[in-house]
Symmetry: C2
Subunit: 522 residues, 2 copies
């Protein structure tokens, strides 16, 4: 990947998409992460199609028609996370996206455009934006489309109704009047107008004027039959028990002496390495391990060292790389929140759930902490510790911290937790502060955990997926609306014969045969 | 229905439920409406089971196992509306509910308890509250249960996870510590404690100390093959076109001279009569007319008279009956918002969409207004008018007015609309203010409407149901979370073989056979 020559104009980068499908999403997610880390001076991404009229959901439709339900759901979730990531790049990194539509952006293509900061549409009497999912495929623009139309673009609801039911979409002045795009530009003025907007956005960015990026080298992982081994993480599959155990390892050396030394370490810097490996492990389980009912988080290491890294990042919070690493953790932890398996953390002797790693405890549906040491084991008793990062650095999709979500009923409990920042808490203290679900002694531990995990594996997978609603109490954001509400409707529609049945619209699309619908409404 | 003798103590009324099912919901909804209107001096409802241990979802399970998908969805929606109505009675009428659990409240029974202002549990070592839906039936506590646990009771999410997966539930002190009930009381102290709480709630109520209620006489309706005729509403079914047209008639006389005269009119008072009939017509279509894709609203009458009634109610807004009528409209309009058919309003010559009735225009997915008069017709041109009630008296489930939802992008447009209160607006003026979707002249009218309605009838019913997400942009409330998010998850789960398949938990419940699950997770 090279920064385009237009970099001289506005430190920009041009991403050209050939057509829109899951492959593109993976490439796009990768490209954006790399721009964040490898090219800190890039401030604006131009998103446009390689050829006019292919910025659409063609491949997407074929994929959806043929894919399993699991694949569709994973596709939609990853796609949502990528688009949320683009908005996050804008909001927290000052890396803006301008979408240039020099043809027609239909379906998934326009949903992607909606994630940009600014949408430009060529005014040639033909180019349009459209969401033809409903009239054409009997499904929703369900990867954020509807929600971004109402909550980001704030399109008037009756106009949104017209737009979402009009196969050919909306073009020209009406597209601007209805807030579907930000501007329409004639073909002859397009490049000039794009450059002007790009310069405007670049001028608002806080990204460094110049700066040496770091290389996000591909992750190394060794896969065996029942395990995946990373440099800071081990994943073990107990497939008969429908369980995956992820053990995170704390740092084996203190933080570097300076921000420059952190840049020098690059992708080897422990917090970044761990975040990338955790993210990869979660995506691997989502996509490849459908029979895993519960993910068990464990850790090993020195909690004081983990806190030292948190303090290091906090001390350098205005450095671009520290900011990007913190942002990566934020996104990786949101991916954990949105992973629809039961999540449990076991805080055991020798573990290091402190600061950033304590977020996994709060992201879990339940946590158990062992009181004291184990018989015949000399590992130090489990210790839990909080840091400043637990109070806002890593908001959940609902916009507030995991601890604030946890203590919705009781702001005083949140204050008590804040008062304990930096303290090394034993199991009883952590339980008393409400930080873990249960503190158990060695006598009860094994049986309690075994019964819990067996029970979890025996419940209906679908009902447990819905139970994840318990994770998101309190406020709502556009992001939580997309992830928790729109996705639920789309999942429902993806089950219905009108979409996926033999005579449904998804199956019949492109065959020349009209779909046959069960017309009953409720 | 007679007010219980305990009325002397705390102006209370005791509702005893035999078991919990849809029949009870209908009775409960009816009882609460009647208490609001017929017994304005009642301030506290005691909700308790007729016999210990039957305050549960027994009937409910049998119904769910046997019911069609349509019936299940309608049941859940009506149930949600009833519970939201109980909370509304507390919030806006000062009619509080205390739930007394003198046995075990399980499943739907506890979900109902969650709608109360105060939950008391007898402390006998056995009585408990529980949500066993997930472990027992492989579905969710989906009629508000999960959301009220997290967002109303604000139960810590890991405790909520334990609670919702523990079939036998939680009792005694832990039920209080975990915020699942407000207090536990020993059997010997129960009646005394209930009376004390009831007096406390009664003291907070603004309901009149005494007052003559009005009688909510059963509605009269005449049903023929293709129509239902009420006193202020006509419903016509064009079943081949998958359409129902509801025509609302304006008042045929000016408002009464005083609040006393309004009480004298009682259920015959035009605004109340119309609201009750509209509510009934909507419920009838939901439950009995599954093939109706679109509901078309029309009206006939004098818009100035409609405004006069709005002004009358506003002038008497502190009178208990005016407050109850306004509240009834608020709930009826929310029922329209939550009705998953396409909604369209046609504003034609001779119509009276003004003030309260204009809310139907804003509740519609689209609206069309005719410019001028029709050829050969001497009805006055369509006139549209706003009143103060359009700016907050009837919040949507998302907590803001339909106009505020409409103009999310543009507060100035909301101000311009407010500036037009009381003006008689023609089609072009209404369109310019953004109040209707399209103003059309007589030449285009017929074709445009015909094509739109035909198209609507041809789309997938499921996708259109999901498209209703466009109705609820902007903020979220507990109510909108229940209606738009939790319901979507429950609908999805109700489609899944793990719940409803031949080997699913709902089908096998009570048979002695364990359900067989497809264990795959996504």
């Amino acid at each position: 990947m090279d920064v385009d020559e237009k970099a001289t104009l506005f430190e920009g980068y041009e991403l050209k998409l050939n057509s829109y499908d899951l492959g593109v999403d993976i490439e796009l997610a990768d490209a954006i992460e790399r721009l964040r880390f490898e090219y800190p001076q890039v401030k604006v991404i131009l998103l446009r199609s390689a050829k006019p009229r292919v910025f659409c959901a063609g491949a997407n439709i074929r994929m959806l028609a043929g894919a399993t339900h699991a694949h569709k759901v994973n596709f939609c979730k990853f796609t949502n996370e990528t688009r949320n990531g683009m908005e996050d790049a804008s909001e927290t990194s000052g890396l803006y996206t301008i979408c240039v539509i020099n043809g027609t952006a239909a379906g998934g293509g326009y949903e992607l455009a909606l994630a940009a900061d600014h949408i430009m549409l060529i005014d040639d009497g033909a180019s349009a934006v459209s969401l033809p999912e409903l009239p054409l495929l009997a499904v929703l623009p369900g990867t954020g489309g509807l929600t971004r139309v109402t909550d980001k673009r704030k399109v008037r609801r009756d106009r949104a109704d017209v737009f979402c039911t009009t196969e050919e979409g909306v073009k020209g002045k009406r597209a601007v009047d209805w807030r579907l795009v930000d501007e329409v530009v004639s073909a002859s003025r397009l490049e000039e107008a794009v450059a002007k907007r790009a310069r405007e956005f670049a001028a608002r960015s806080q990204r460094p004027r110049s700066g040496k990026g770091i290389v996000l080298a591909p992750l190394k992982r060794e896969r065996s039959a029942d395990a995946v081994e990373y440099s800071t993480i081990s994943v073990e599959f107990q497939r008969a028990a429908r369980r995956a155990t992820i053990t995170l390892r704390g740092p084996d050396s203190p933080p570097p002496a300076s921000a420059e030394a952190m840049v020098e370490l690059g992708a080897q810097f422990w917090p970044l390495r761990l975040a990338r490996e955790l993210d990869d492990a979660i995506l691997d389980i989502r996509a490849n391990e459908f029979d895993v009912a519960a993910i068990v988080f464990k850790s090993s290491g020195d909690p004081a060292q983990v806190l030292a890294y948190d303090e290091f990042l906090h001390a350098h919070k205005d450095h671009w790389l520290a900011r990007e690493i913190s942002g990566f953790w934020k996104r990786a932890l949101k991916r954990v929140d949105l992973t629809s398996r039961s999540l449990v953390t076991l805080v055991e002797p020798g573990s290091c759930f402190a600061g950033t790693l304590a977020e996994l405890v709060f992201a879990s549906d339940r946590s158990y902490m062992l009181i004291g040491q184990r018989d015949g084991d000399n590992k130090p008793p489990a210790t839990f510790a909080l840091a400043e990062v637990n109070f806002g650095a890593y908001p959940m999709p609902n916009g507030i911290s995991r601890l604030a979500s946890r203590f919705l009923a009781d702001p005083a409990a949140l204050d008590r937790a804040r008062g304990a920042i930096g303290e090394m808490l034993d199991a009883e203290a952590a339980e008393k502060l409400g930080l873990v679900t249960f503190a158990l002694d060695d006598i009860d531990w094994e049986d309690e955990i075994r019964v819990f995990l067996e029970e979890r594996a025996s419940f209906s997978a679908d009902a447990l997926t819905g139970l994840a609603n318990l994770r998101f109490g309190g406020p709502e954001t556009m992001e939580s609306k997309i992830c928790a509400r729109l996705s639920a409707w789309q999942n429902w529609i993806f089950q219905r014969p009108n979409a996926v049945g033999e005579e449904g619209a998804l199956k019949r699309y492109g065959t020349g045969q009209k779909p046959a619908f069960d017309t009953r409404r409720v």
